[in-house]
């Protein structure tokens, strides 16, 4: 039986992996503040990832590696 939080985090992790490279910006050469726009995406996405990891660690750390308490 997969719990709802496991399912939710599973989906969240897949999204974090899938969009670490912004495929929708493929071939996009626009520049923002002197840098390619996808560099800014990267910076933002890493912040989002860190926040998600921190929330997971705080609330649902045992979910997958499975420590029954």
């Amino acid at each position: 039986m997969v719990s709802r939080s496991a399912l939710g985090w599973g989906v969240a992790f897949v999204v974090l992996v899938a969009l670490a490279i912004p495929w929708f910006l493929w071939n996009d050469a626009s520049m923002v503040a002197g840098l390619p726009v996808w560099v800014w995406w990267h910076v933002g996405w890493m912040v989002v990832t860190a926040a998600a990891f921190a929330a997971f660690a705080r609330r649902d750390w045992g979910t997958f590696a499975g420590v029954a308490k």
Binding site: V17, A20, I21, G34, L35, M46, T49, F53, A54
Partner: protein, 493 residues
């Protein structure tokens, strides 16, 4: 004057490292667990930096900017996926699980952990053997790099063999003395130093570029601005990120660090900090590489582009500091590898197969002898740098990646069998070795052994082979009576 300064800085680093080593020696018990794992007591900052520094330090300054210089800065995204997201998740899925098991059963190495659960000396020896096979040439390459750099630094005054030999001696003295605790402490000092250097260099050069007509944007070559293109295809980027992220987890010096966290809290904090560290280190370092291309600098033959860029925009002493820091970084990668390589050798090969009755104090001595033997052997090899060893070293990440999925299956699937593990580990290694060293084989237009499979690289294809073999063979074989799945699934819970 700059050469003298660089040598002076390298020497200063060595003195500091030895001092740290001496302090670490004083607080280290004479047990294997304390020597190899710092008594499983590392805190967040030290664990974070020591894991990062062991693998990525020299790459941050040299290899990475070189790639961004010649192919474009997209490697930033590969690093983000690889080390920010995937490695973070593996840190949790493999690392946390290994930490729990290591704590419950006192494991010091990966081979030990697998051998215990599957009741198999063969598996334990195989994993250690495979690891040393890939690690040995990789350490050799570090010595080659350091020897070459010292020779270049002193304009040939210190010949290659003397430079490499001196650095080897230093590392032996240092690792024998201090063990994991000292290695981790110096890594931390060095990590903080590197992070500051990268940002200073970035700020320095960015402000110089901003003052020029066109600003910072003009320094980004037109052909580098769009995402993708050139070598960067989706399959290539994904293959690199996946292959290296999984490979990193099985490098002995990283895998062993899964066992050393002080508490669950430490693991949780490190987990969330990976993406932050990735942004802070790699974005500035790789942008510098691409800017060097944009301002029209040339990469020296067999050299690195970052020192050229620094020489152009920053004072000599600063460039010297960075180059010396990178040299120190190479050493700090090697010392961790030496320590872990020696522990695999003594615990998983020597003890089970040669001398099973070694006492604790003898093993303590033996671990240090292992360091001396391992370092001396890689040094001798580095004098000849046989082509085969160089190829093995350069493909080591892929070789280690082959171990990751069988280990993951074993950690999470109760029905994994010894036969499945042996098939998965041996089969994927064989496959990968043939793709690296064997002939290219196509059958009916389909690649069987090739450099690329519809754009995907051999390490990733080999991982799939290993996964299929581990799961498939486990499904059709039964667990031997000497296997004990409960070791992973009950004691840890």
């Amino acid at each position: 004057m700059s050469a003298l300064l660089e040598v002076g800085i390298v020497a200063a680093y060595m003195v500091v490292a030895l001092a740290v080593g001496a302090v670490a020696y004083r607080v280290t018990d004479r047990t294997a667990e304390d020597y190899y794992l710092a008594g499983r007591g590392l805190g967040t900052g030290v664990l974070l930096f020591t894991t990062f520094a062991t693998l990525l330090s020299a790459f941050t300054f040299f290899g990475g900017p070189n790639t961004a210089f010649s192919s474009g800065p997209e490697w930033i995204l590969v690093m983000g996926l690889m080390d920010g997201v995937l490695f973070g998740l593996l840190w949790y899925l493999l690392g946390y699980r290994q930490w729990l098991l290591g704590r419950a059963h006192g494991y010091v190495t990966l081979g030990e952990m697998l051998g215990d659960r599957f009741g198999s000396k063969t598996l334990r020896g195989l994993v250690a053997g495979v690891s040393i096979f890939w690690l040995f040439p990789y350490v050799m390459l570090q010595q080659v790099g350091a020897g070459t750099a010292l020779e270049a630094l002193t304009d040939g005054l210190v010949p290659y063999w003397a430079g490499a030999g001196f650095i080897t001696l230093f590392m032996i003295a240092y690792v024998v003395l201090s063990g994991m605790r000292g290695v981790a402490w110096t890594d931390t000092l060095q990590g903080v130093f590197m992070l500051s250097m990268v940002w200073l260099a970035f700020a320095w050069i960015a402000s110089a570029l901003a003052a020029e007509p066109g600003g910072i944007g003009a320094a980004m070559p037109d052909e580098f601005r769009a995402l993708g293109g050139g070598v960067y295809s989706p399959q290539w980027m994904l293959s690199q990120a996946v292959g290296i992220a999984f490979g990193v987890t099985m490098f002995p010096q990283v895998n062993q660090r899964f066992f050393v966290g002080k508490s669950e809290k430490v693991l949780k904090r490190t987990f969330a900090l990976w993406p932050v560290l990735v942004v802070l280190l790699f974005v500035p370092a790789f942008l510098l590489g691409s800017w060097a291309q944009g301002v029209g600098l040339a990469m020296p033959d067999g050299g690195n582009v970052l020192p050229v860029l620094l020489a152009e925009y920053t004072p000599g002493w600063f460039a010297a500091l960075v180059v010396a820091g990178a040299l120190a970084a190479m050493m700090s990668s090697s010392d961790s590898m030496l320590l872990s390589g020696a522990s695999y050798f003594t615990r998983d090969l020597y003890r089970p197969f040669v001398n099973a009755d070694a006492s604790e104090s003898y093993e303590n001595k033996l671990g240090r002898i292992g360091v001396v033997v391992f370092a001396s052997a890689t040094f001798v090899a580095s004098l000849f740098t046989p082509g085969t060893l160089v190829s093995i070293g350069e493909t080591a990440f892929g070789g280690f990646a082959q171990l990751a999925l069988p280990v993951g299956v074993a950690l999470y699937w109760r029905n994994t069998t010894r036969s499945g593990m042996l098939a998965g580990v041996a089969g994927s290694q064989l496959f990968y070795l043939v793709t690296v060293f064997g002939p290219t084989v196509y059958v009916g237009g389909f690649p069987v052994f090739a450099d690329a499979y519809w754009g995907w690289l051999p390490p990733v294809v080999g991982m799939a082979v290993g996964l299929v073999l581990t799961v498939g063979v486990s499904a059709v074989t039964a667990q031997a009576t000497s296997e004990d799945a409960s070791v992973y699934f009950e004691a840890a819970d």
